[in-house]
Symmetry: C2
Subunit: 111 residues, 2 copies
């Protein structure tokens, strides 16, 4: 929303990351680039938001990390979904649909 200091709405980043990981393990930098590419830069993923989010999600048991090599031969930390992460994603997608549907109905309403 056009709000100074925040391009992403709070709470959406973790959902987006979980969804990205449904296609298999990815490292943080790749997650950011994939989201930006897929949305044609409608979403911009700041690294200062992404990496702390990944730590939170790991701490909560939704994802697991493992060091490895990126496609370009650099060291990178690969994340993959856990069972809890998959369950969480399902809940968050449902919550998003409910919420965005409600906001949409308000904003599209015509008096």
């Amino acid at each position: 929303m056009a709000r100074p200091g925040a391009d992403l709405l709070q709470g959406t980043l973790e959902t987006l990351v979980l969804k990205t990981l449904t296609w298999g393990p990815r490292h943080g930098y790749a997650i950011a680039r994939w989201l930006e590419g897929t949305t044609e830069d409608a979403l911009v993923i700041e690294e200062g938001s992404l990496y702390p989010a990944l730590y939170r999600m790991e701490r909560k048991g939704w994802i697991e990390a493992e060091w490895g090599m990126s496609e370009l031969g650099r060291r990178a930390k690969f994340y993959q979904l856990t069972g809890a992460g998959r369950a969480r994603l399902k809940d968050e997608v449902a919550a998003w649909r409910r919420f965005s549907g409600a906001v949409g109905r308000v904003l599209e309403a015509r008096g």
Copy 2:
């Protein structure tokens, strides 16, 4: 009445309030009830969120306040949109569409 676990995403409340005021002046309590009713309680407006938001928006020149009498004969502060508020609403609706569209495309994507 307010159900637990129905949180607003940061940045959406001001947009919702602006939209509510396009139907004409309303007081804070009525704004909250109208939003909850319209969305069948999918959105719950906490008073501790609403009133500070109204002050912020007044300070930013998007809305103007005036004391009056509610339909039930109680004193109430009525808010109405300013020109700047109308312009702001237009921008925020466009931003919401862009953002929610992007999130939706990610979440509905199938690998």
